[in-house]
Point group: C2
Chain length 347, copies 2
């Protein structure tokens, strides 16, 4: 009966969210409600087509148990509480609505576990503050999954996730761990995918920042793909490696020990001639907001507040903030204005 | 008779070079040979149209005494030596040909004075090395003059130049000063324009870098105009002002004292709502090479070699070098390649 199954709400149904919906439902231990925006009509009409290296190349007509255009209001709508809310949206902390604003109507206090499958640092802090008695779970994913067109997903790199509880003072360690382990169980009941329980969420996130804060942000400023970045001495020596070392130093100041040889490894981590744009660069090329705060701003603040010198990332941060201002202007959310005595009156 | 007049060759006939040709010839003390490339045919056919705030708004059919498509070879062509060569091209030190390569056939050793009307630092060094017995003259210009279309110049900001001799060990101070003063005399015989003799060339150049190294380079990386940059707090506080302070510190280490309050002044120096792109940003928007070495690379090396910390400019330099690589690739001069063991094999 449905009552045995975990009720999962997924907010953010691009490639990652859709593959999560599919994994959760074929596992047989969850029912999924997916909040769809731009792709709602396409999926309503003909379902989702998936070409997946792990689930099959010819999946057609998949429909989550329920699809909706808006985040449900469980109280007003009298909906049974969700066990999990999986959030796979971009985390653009400096542009409303926040993740907490977005999911709030669907969260049952003290009950719903909130899974943040998003990049960056300190993403749980405002969520913990808003929902102090709910388990907050971290998923650090390296899946490759892209929505090529509305309702058509290419899943071309394996679904690997490190999943564990964020620290939340209002939730006991046992409850937090149990929620994370239950999520792993319903996501991957047959062990077909690579969903690892990861107790050290913070380390996992700093480790991923070694790549994201460097490759993503420099690619964004330069509109340059990863292969060309690697092929350019000034990019590698003056930008990528210094940023990686600054992230490692900041992590260390926060009590997280990363291998100091990581820059040498991470620069040439991907296939040399992969030619892809890191995701933040894809965002800016599409005219979307970028995750500058959680990928660059937060590690910068964590490091600098502990006395770590981070001169490279500091400059990159300023540039990314300016890029965000340009995007705001394009979306009609900013215009150049000056206050009295002409100081800037802006971001 | 023509023999009384100074023979001037002008290399680089955009807005600045064309207005120089006009000023030199209407002054009556010089004859100009102009080397024209893209605009040769248009000027040959109908002359140059000029709309000038200082010389008149309706100048039509101006033709320099001689126009040519190539730099003359004075020896091979048996041409009378030039008294002056005025160079107003962009100084792209990292992409051949160099200024010295370009003008060499037209230089008569020990005779021709070379006037560099270009931005940046250390631009005279390779020229002095190549022509050790020729006076090298610095012009730091704030003229506003733009070639709107081939053979049509808008001159909309006054022709103000600070002119003085670069240090050149092979030329006596008297000869160097005399050459600079003669150039001022033939350029502005009636005192109508603002051509000041400036003995302290180095200070003038560092002073101009306070603006150019900051506004030009950040505008280039961000593709953002000066007004929007001023209206954005992160651009002003995290990028422009730190770069200006680094330039002032580097200048000081080189023995040049600039006002440490300059950042406050220079940020809001232009009319707030001027909306223009600084010239380097215009270059990159047009797909041209940028003067990254003389505007950013040289002051950075001068400062850092003297122990000055210049973390902001260091990052901006890395980004500008990457922009230069992108332009090289577009022009077919670079492609991403990797050496054995996959280190980059590039710039």
């Amino acid at each position: 009966m449905a009552g045995d199954k975990a009720r999962v709400l997924i907010v953010g149904t691009g490639g990652v969210g859709t593959m999560a919906a599919y994994a959760l439902e074929i596992g047989g231990k969850a029912t999924v409600t997916a909040v769809m925006r731009s792709n709602y009509d396409a999926v309503k009409e003909k379902g989702i087509t998936i070409d997946s290296i792990e689930h099959g190349h010819d999946i057609k007509g998949y429909r989550p148990t329920e699809i909706r255009k808006t985040v449900p209001d469980v109280v007003k709508e009298g909906i049974e509480p969700y066990d999990f809310i999986l959030v796979t949206t971009k985390n653009v902390a400096d542009v409303p609505p926040t993740v907490s604003d977005l999911i709030e109507p669907a969260v049952t206090p003290g009950k719903t576990a909130i899974v943040l499958s998003q990049n960056g640092l300190n993403i749980e802090k405002p969520v913990v503050a808003r929902f102090p008695n709910n388990p907050i779970i971290s998923s650090v994913s390296t899946i490759g999954a892209t929505e090529k067109e509305k309702g058509f997903i290419i899943h071309d790199d394996t679904d690997e996730q490190k999943i564990g509880p964020f620290s939340n003072p209002g939730v006991s360690a046992e409850v937090a761990e149990a929620a994370a382990r239950r999520y792993i169980d319903i996501y991957n009941p047959n062990g077909k995918l690579t969903t690892l329980y990861e107790p050290d969420v913070l380390k996992t996130r700093w480790r991923k920042l070694v790549y994201n804060a460097s490759f993503n942000s420099v690619a964004t400023v330069l509109r340059m793909d990863a292969t060309r970045m690697r092929a350019t001495q000034h990019v590698v020596d003056d930008l990528l490696k210094p940023i990686m070392s600054e992230i490692i130093a900041a992590a260390k100041a926060c009590g997280v020990d990363l291998d100091t040889n990581l820059p040498e490894i991470v620069v040439f981590n991907d296939p040399l001639e992969a030619w892809f744009y890191p995701s933040m660069a894809q965002d800016i090329l599409k005219g979307n907001f970028i995750e500058a705060e959680v990928i660059v701003g937060e590690p910068l603040r964590e490091g600098e507040s502990r006395g770590v010198s981070m001169p490279t990332l500091r400059v990159i941060y300023g540039l990314l903030k300016a890029e965000q201002v340009k995007t705001k202007e394009k979306k009609g959310l900013w215009k150049p204005e000056f206050g009295p005595g002409h100081p800037y009156k802006g971001e």
